[in-house]
């Protein structure tokens, strides 16, 4: 018996609802249309890839154009006071295009971003004027109000890749589960 011919609900929920559920919790779209095995496999794999990305590159690989740490906000306000133009929404997204992919993994990306910008460990890694951060530990120095530190080099790239690909795969699952919902559970 397969997940396509068992546990099919008599009336399937509307495709937009399935798509929304699939975005909120990866794999939930398949569960809603009765394909529990497929939903669990897809959901667990996507979330595992997303968490692996955060683990590899640190939580700041999720870098939204709109969610800022207090230090980033202060820096932006200084730039704007000095006459720098504020980028519009499209320009802001184009500066960090990988966030589009990451956001497709669901609200977990937004939560991770918020945690990253507010996570403080005062006194653990403190920047000073004579600290040029030339050590090769792959992590930038942080200070008060900056949130968790950004990583850099390969680990940052890999963390971004993992999280963005997790989101892109979730887009695939969102489209497929919504289509199946509109086609009585079949492709």
């Amino acid at each position: 018996m397969s997940s396509t011919d068992v546990d099919q609900p008599k009336s399937l929920p509307p495709a937009p609802l399935v798509a929304l559920a699939a975005w909120i919790i990866p794999g939930a779209g398949y569960v809603l249309i009765g394909q529990v095995g497929r939903g669990i496999t897809v959901g667990v794999t996507i979330l595992a890839m997303f968490v692996a990305g955060l683990l590899i590159g640190g939580i700041r690989v999720i870098d939204s154009p709109w969610i800022e740490s207090p230090a980033q906000r202060a820096e932006r306000e200084v730039r704007e006071r000095n006459g720098a133009p504020r980028p519009n929404a499209v320009q802001a997204v184009l500066q960090k295009p990988w966030f589009i992919g990451q956001m497709l993994a669901g609200p977990v990306a937004l939560i991770a971003n918020k945690v990253g910008v507010t996570w403080e460990r005062p006194g653990v890694r403190v920047a000073s004027a004579d600290d040029d951060d030339d050590d090769d530990d792959g992590v930038a120095i942080t200070g008060a109000g900056q949130g968790a530190p950004f990583s850099h080099a390969r680990v940052y790239e890999l963390g971004t890749l993992y999280t963005a690909i997790a989101g892109m795969l979730n887009l695939l699952a969102i489209i497929d589960s919504a289509y199946r919902a509109s086609n009585r559970g079949n492709r």
């Binding site: 496999t41 939580i59 600290d131 695939l172």
Partner: protein, 78 residues
């Protein structure tokens, strides 16, 4: 001044500087599983199909890396 601290998951990046390329293996595995879970008609087909595409990706990436390394070496030699 920077104080050295112990590794903290999610705060510090994973210390994989010398073997970062091995992390492409679980990435390929994840892509294979999700892609075939979406694509296959029956879930029982997924393990075999995912294994085939996973090996194909690995062999393809290895061949591409070897070819690029060969070209680079050739250009350096000339």
């Amino acid at each position: 001044m920077t104080f050295p601290v112990a590794y903290t998951p999610f705060w510090n990046p994973l210390p994989v500087w010398d073997y970062w390329y091995t992390l492409l293996i679980p990435l390929s595995l994840g892509i294979s599983i999700v892609y075939k879970s979406v694509k296959c008609h029956h879930m029982r087909q997924v393990p075999r199909e995912a294994a085939v595409i996973f090996l194909t990706i690995l062999i393809g990436m290895t061949a591409a890396a070897a070819a690029l390394m060969g070209i680079t070496r050739l250009l350096e030699w000339r």
